[in-house]
């Protein structure tokens, strides 16, 4: 919790939004996807390289708020090196954190306050929409 009283905007989130570690474009990307939020003009582009069922690189170019920036970066981090088959599980884990009061998973916990702040939820899920599109390009579904 910061001195402005909001438990979303803590150190990690601010650090990641200020200095993302996975910004940019994946080399020799095998899939690219984009998410847009017309309400605020935010845009996330995700590019990834998938080799033999494994995500060897995931990158994002994000124009958006701190939540969106940090979410994109932490998503890219969590997915880098993951098996393609694990993406669906990670996606639901994230969804659970932001939609279910008292979710028990530990990853992505910093986004938990969004359960009670629906109006900002889309900021955090936008990168995941872009990811879904990037994977769909490869014929991989993330929602099942």
């Amino acid at each position: 919790m910061n001195d402005l009283g909001h438990d979303l905007y803590h150190q990690t989130l601010m650090a990641r939004s200020r200095a993302p570690r996975f910004a940019g474009v994946a080399d020799a990307a095998t899939g690219v996807g984009e998410g847009r939020n017309p309400m605020c003009g935010d845009r996330v582009r995700v590019s990834l390289r998938c080799v033999e069922g494994r995500l060897t690189e995931v990158r994002h170019e994000t124009r958006g708020c701190a939540i969106c920036q940090a979410s994109a970066d932490l998503m890219a981090e969590a997915l880098s090196g993951a098996a393609r088959d694990d993406v669906a599980a990670l996606t639901s884990e994230f969804e659970e954190v932001v939609t279910v009061e008292g979710a028990t998973t530990v990853r992505f916990m910093m986004f938990r306050p969004l359960v009670r702040q629906k109006s900002r939820r889309r900021c955090a899920t936008l990168p995941w929409s872009a990811l879904a599109e990037a994977l769909a390009e490869q014929g991989v579904k993330t929602d099942g």
Binding site: L4, H6, L8, C40, G41, R63, A66
Partner: protein, 413 residues
């Protein structure tokens, strides 16, 4: 309007007690409500008028022959005269009650639009709310009416040369333009627009959703043909808006919606329309909301537009002085005349983050495109934060805003 800029300060803070919600706490902080341009809070007379109607005097109106219905009809129709007086409309029969501004503009787009011919054009400006854009796009796509856009200057004023250009071929049937921008605060010189439109053979509609909150309106002095506003921004309830139009125009226009109360006689084969304004009020109207709107108008008039405008000019001046103290803050637009609305951006901080973090200090502002996406594009922005003032806003609240913004900024740099 020059005299409004003079430092004659009117302090309306004693009126805050009339608005019970202003004593609420948000996240343990005093509510600082700077989102009145989206919808204003309601004073006790409005709350009481609606509750009293439901407690003591209510029934459906117009066709009832019993006491409750007659008295409720009287109360409803009395607000029609009240609105006519508020706008200085020549006749109360020119006042049509709608759902909100949006419906009022859709009504004109549909019913006045039906009198336009393919090839004719409607002009709007670059700074319209979607409510005064989308209905005209729909008319364009439905009826082959051209939609033209009058530009604005970089300062955020209407570009009158640009307006002259889009009017020059004489093909324009209607100029539909905001009287005050909900993003830039710009108050448009409406009379000048009307004169130019009329000279070019066009009618003119003013979207007064914002302006009527801050300025006395005189549709005759503005030489308007249509004027619309929405009750919930004028301290009244949601669910009610107003369309004023010249009788000759309203008379010539076909109805918008069909149903009870808007016909004079009907068989399965055909219907004959009731006279104006009833022709445009299909079905059971927003009876309680019209009564609430009447109370809101009485309340505003009891304070007076002069006091409201002076109070607001003071707030705007104070905010324009103090906001630039915040590092990285930039105010959007610098119109010649500004109502109580200020949009701003802050370097390195997204407007959504501003709004969410201000909220934790109890400060309510809007962030986003404010239902004016094309204007955002014109400004080269995707979103702004917006603080808007009402008669109950104080200098001290603006100071809280400025202090909170300064603290938020430190979090991001």
């Amino acid at each position: 309007m020059d005299d409004l800029m003079a430092p004659v300060r009117v302090d309306l803070s004693a009126r805050r007690g009339d608005f019970p919600i202003l004593s609420e706490k948000v996240h343990g902080r005093d509510l600082v409500f700077l989102d009145s341009a989206a919808s204003a809070q309601k004073p006790l007379p409005v709350i009481d008028a609606m509750a009293d109607a439901m407690r003591h005097q209510y029934a459906n109106i117009h066709r009832g022959l019993h006491w409750m219905s007659e008295r409720t009809t009287d109360a409803y129709e009395a607000v029609r005269s009240q609105v006519a007086a508020l706008l200085n409309a020549p006749s109360q029969d020119e006042i049509v009650f709608t759902h909100n501004s949006t419906e009022a503009i859709n009504l004109v787009a549909h019913s006045f639009g039906a009198l336009l011919k393919p090839g004719q054009a409607v002009v709007i400006s670059e700074m319209e709310h979607h409510a005064n854009l989308v209905p005209w796009q729909m008319l364009r796509d439905r009826a082959g009416i051209e939609l033209r856009i009058a530009p604005i200057t970089d300062a955020g004023d209407l570009d009158f040369d640009g307006l002259a250009r889009v009017l020059s071929d004489g093909q324009v049937g209607l100029v539909a333009i905001t009287h005050m921008s909900n993003v830039l605060g710009t108050v448009v010189d409406a009379r000048r627009v009307a004169d130019m439109a009329h000279a070019a053979g066009a009618r003119v509609l003013f979207d007064g959703s914002q302006s009527i909150v801050h300025r006395a309106i005189d549709v005759v002095a503005l030489d308007a043909d249509f004027f619309v506003f929405t009750g919930h921004k004028l301290y009244g309830p949601s669910g009610v808006g107003v369309l004023w139009g010249r009788m000759a125009l309203l008379d010539a226009m076909p109805p918008f919606m069909g149903g009870g109360d808007m016909i004079s006689s009907v068989s399965f084969e055909q219907a004959t329309w009731a006279r104006v304004p009833h022709k445009f009020e299909a079905g059971t109207p927003a009876i309680l909301e019209v009564i609430g709107l009447g109370a809101a108008i009485s309340y505003v008039e009891s304070i007076g537009y002069d006091a409201i405008a002076r109070h607001e000019a003071d707030l705007v001046a104070h905010a324009l002085r103090r906001l630039p103290e915040v590092p990285g803050l930039e105010i959007v637009g610098a119109p010649v005349e500004r109502g109580g609305v200020i949009s701003f951006t802050m370097a390195d901080v997204h407007p959504h983050d501003i709004a969410t973090l201000l909220d934790r200090s109890g400060v309510a502002v809007r962030a986003g495109h404010h239902c004016a996406e094309p204007l955002m594009r014109r400004l080269g922005l995707t979103a702004t934060a917006r603080a808007s003032f009402a008669l109950y806003t104080t200098r001290a609240e603006i100071d809280v805003l400025v202090d909170s913004l300064t603290r938020i900024r430190t979090l991001f740099v």
